[in-house]
């Protein structure tokens, strides 16, 4: 993965973005954005974003994608798909948000102190290890990593949940973790596009 990352970072960010998005089924619709702003108006969290969903596409066209990736914008997307189902051009904005999240992590651009990338990475780490996610260990590790002192604030809530039997502390490890690892090792590409990352321009033209 590391070698691939180096190769990808040698391309301009916008180019890699376009290649990856074109690889998503129906992803080429991104070029049909008419800047109407339906996505931003439909988004329940756009009010708190540095750049709204509409502005992301505008920024990409202006070659300013890096600015977006360094902001809080993409990490406020909760994957509610409101933008996706309303977009008059059929752009799959939620899938684009996922792509931007992956790029921000891959290119090391996520803003300092952003908590969402931490959750995502812990989540993936736990799934890779156990095959499933136990919520309590996930939340505990997340708190210790992002806000160890804030964890105290959680105690009353945690106690209430615990006494109601809603805080199972154990985690289950599936039998198939080795099987999954084998499968992952045999994958030919890390992205849906299935193209080698070096061939960034071959996306869908």
């Amino acid at each position: 993965m590391h070698a691939e990352t180096v190769e990808r970072t040698q391309h301009a960010l916008g180019e890699v973005f376009l290649h990856d998005v074109y690889g998503i089924p129906g992803g080429d619709k991104v070029k049909e954005c008419i800047q109407c702003g339906t996505c931003s108006a439909s988004c329940p969290t756009s009010y708190a974003m540095d750049y709204t969903p509409r502005e992301i596409i505008a920024a990409f066209r202006a070659g300013l994608l890096e600015k977006v990736l360094k902001s809080n914008t993409i990490w406020l997307c909760s994957s509610c798909y409101s933008c996706t189902v309303r977009c008059p051009s059929g752009i799959k904005l939620t899938d684009i948000m996922y792509e931007l999240k992956r790029l921000a992590i891959e290119f090391g651009l996520a803003p300092e102190g952003a908590k969402a990338p931490v959750v995502a990475e812990l989540f993936a780490e736990i799934v890779d290890k156990n095959g499933r996610v136990a919520e309590v260990p996930l939340v505990t590790r997340f708190m210790l990593k992002t806000n160890p002192f804030g964890a105290f604030k959680m105690i009353p809530r945690a106690t209430k949940l615990f006494t109601r039997g809603r805080m199972p502390l154990t985690s289950h490890k599936i039998k198939g973790t080795a099987e999954l690892e084998k499968c992952a090792g045999a994958m030919t590409a890390p992205l849906v596009s299935g193209l080698h990352p070096g061939s960034a321009r071959e996306g869908g033209n």
Partner: protein, 296 residues
């Protein structure tokens, strides 16, 4: 009497963790409705949103293994978590429509002697009950009446979005319908598919609390006495964070929330304890005592 329905059952991580009441009530309701649920052996995480932000193809591979395991059982897969539904369905669609994607996943699965031909349908329990079991069979099992209990049917995002295969993407009625069958009164609830913030409650708490304030407010304004949920994450956010919402906005929400399977279970005569009711932070007890009437 209908033929017995049989499915593989995919509980999902959240139901196995902090939302076991959803699982408990699901099992009981299905038993009462003669739906056979056999838990999918050794299922893994569906690859939901957090994993998708890290590795796209591997998130799909996680889904694909579940689908391959389900295909071996020759049964369709029933889920209760809408996020699992969307993730598994998305992988299923890509596999059917994208040859290159299918090749990549196929090669990966083969490394562990697994294969998937694409025959498994992923279905949400709510939709199975409404479309397969139907009104007559549901009504036939009612042992207790819910006398005029006013409920806000809260669907959340991913039951109907993005695919819209189950119902309208923004104003679905399928849960409303089921609730009337068991004697509850669904109120008009314009925010029924608005987002609860999901995992943002962990990462951007203030934003998520605001979203929940809106949903609670809408439910109350429209006269709902409780909120009925179908998603473990929505349930967690709307039910257990009301103290925090109140603190932040100076409100005084105290709205009980129940899974649709819990309310069905009550109507079918199961006890609160069996259904995991009373495990919630905001007790529904006074409300239920007011509205539940034993028929026989």
């Amino acid at each position: 009497m209908q033929a017995r329905l049989g499915f593989s059952y995919y509980p999902g991580c959240s139901v196995e963790g902090m939302n076991r009441a959803y699982d408990k009530s699901t099992q009981l309701v299905c038993k009462a409705l003669d739906i056979d649920l056999a838990e999918l052996n050794d299922w893994n995480c569906c690859g939901a949103s957090a994993y998708m932000s890290i590795n796209e193809m591997k998130a799909h591979l996680l889904s694909a293994r579940n689908l391959a395991l389900a295909e071996k059982e020759k049964k369709d897969l029933v889920v209760v978590c809408p996020a699992c539904l969307t993730t598994l369905t998305k992988t299923n669609h890509y596999l059917a429509e994208e040859p290159r994607f299918k090749r990549n996943i196929g090669t990966a699965l083969k490394a562990a002697n697994l294969q998937y031909f694409g025959s498994v349908k992923v279905r949400h329990l709510l939709e199975v009950i409404v479309n397969e079991v139907g009104e007559q069979e549901v009504k036939a099992r009612i042992k207790r009446k819910l006398l005029g209990l006013k409920v806000a049917p809260y669907y959340g995002c991913q039951l109907t979005r993005p695919f819209g295969e189950i119902d309208h993407k923004e104003f679905p009625l399928i849960l409303d319908k089921l609730l009337t069958w068991i004697g509850a009164e669904p109120v008009n609830f314009p925010l029924k598919t608005k987002c609860c913030g999901g995992i943002l409650m962990m990462t951007n708490e203030n934003v998520a609390l605001g979203l929940n304030r809106n949903i609670l407010d809408c439910a109350k304004q429209n006269g709902a006495e409780c909120i009925i949920t179908i998603c473990p994450l929505c349930h967690m956010n709307i039910e257990t964070y009301q103290d925090d919402v109140n603190k932040m906005f100076g409100t005084d929400f105290k709205v009980p929330a129940l899974y649709f399977t819990q309310l069905m279970g009550l109507a079918f005569g199961f006890s609160r304890k069996e259904l995991g009711i009373d495990e919630e932070m905001i007790s529904s007890r006074p409300l239920l005592e007011k509205h539940l009437e034993v028929i026989a």
